[in-house]
Subunit: 228 residues, 2 copies
């Protein structure tokens, strides 16, 4: 292959940022200001700068558009989208490296230089929205990834604050999967799985019996898995 035949591309990092808002799985969307796909809803993201890795770019975008630091969010690479027809509005080929970002209690995203507006949208609404480029596809892939990783990884704790109750953890599963789980069996399973959660010794009081507080344990994978 001669050097002249090689594709030369711009590289973007786009983010499927998920959080729970009032028990509803929601995604951050921005209304685009740049010429390409101007005015359409899209995933937050942007082009890599020279000298920057995709992960660094994703963290930079999270900081710019969401005010989020590395400690607030769990970032995981989702996949790369490179179809030549995925974006025909830019003057160069654009390939996009997509990230899944999970966090608790995210603040309202802020409209940055590239966004006229930004907000959290329940994922069911978001997938019906005709997003820019192939972002609907990326979003669907992100949701699916989150759903399936909940089963055999400790990802669910990323949706919660540093300390949480078992019920809160259960409601993460219920919101992401859209099912109801038996509280008693869930409690037994989670607390008997080594390294999933560890008790802090404190409790939180609300309505009803006070709940013991836990923090995420050291395990990253679950087996046996939590079943849907």
């Amino acid at each position: 292959m001669s050097r002249a035949d090689r594709l030369v591309a711009w590289v973007a990092a786009d983010i499927v940022a998920l959080t729970l808002r009032d028990g509803v799985l929601s995604v951050a969307l921005v209304k685009r200001k740049p010429r390409a796909a101007r005015g359409r809803w899209a995933l937050p993201g942007g082009f890599l700068l020279p000298g920057e890795s995709a992960e660094q770019a994703a963290y930079r975008e999270l900081a710019e558009e969401g005010g989020l630091g590395e400690r607030d969010v769990r970032l995981e690479q989702l996949g790369t989208y490179s179809d030549p027809r995925r974006d025909v509005e830019h003057e160069k080929r654009v390939i996009s490296i997509a990230y899944l970002a999970l966090a608790a209690n995210l603040p309202e995203p802020v409209a940055g230089t590239d966004a006229a507006d930004a907000s959290w949208v329940p994922v069911d609404q978001a997938v019906g929205k005709a997003l820019a480029f192939d972002h609907t596809r990326i979003l669907e892939d992100g949701i699916e990834r989150a759903r399936s990783k909940l089963e055999y990884s400790t990802l669910a704790t990323s949706f919660l604050d540093e300390t949480f109750t078992i019920s809160e953890l259960r409601s993460v599963y219920e919101a992401v999967w859209g099912v109801r789980l038996d509280a008693a069996n869930f409690h037994r399973k989670v607390t008997s799985t080594d390294g999933f959660v560890e008790a802090t010794g404190e409790e939180r009081r609300g309505r009803g019996r006070p709940a013991k507080l836990f923090r995420a344990g050291s395990a990253t994978s679950l087996n046996p898995p939590i079943t849907r």
Copy 2:
């Protein structure tokens, strides 16, 4: 961000092609002929052409370097490597979209235009080999992906021909995981998992009692999983 600040990059598709050779998990490696990292062992791969997606490029490379068609191999995106220091030998930034390719009975790879030599190498040897660029890291990620997907997916059948015996399927697990599994329990579990394998009605005779032949079923995910 002004347009001038955007990274402009070459995009490569690199392939972790795994197969079983005499019961040993092996990976395809090529000895590089291009100027960059010339003479070093590396994963097969190459740059995207204009108008080509990464997946198309991966299939093209598999055809060129391994003589493999789309039907012979299962291809799955592994991840994208974009660290600015991952490749300082080319005159432009290079980001690499890595694919995992699994296949049965692969022929000896052929040295193409970009490779002086090519061969199957047991993965244990390959990870100790000081491959070009960050290919050791990519290879490790690929092996780890294959190992963990064996648990929850029907991926193992991709290492086998269209029809196979339960023992052959078991030996895939044993080779990839490096463990021994109880033949009787494995047999019971596989045949009782809906959609994993379906009997063809035929059998294959070797030494000992003839084994019934199966083909891959329609399921793609396994639950309960096969445990290591």
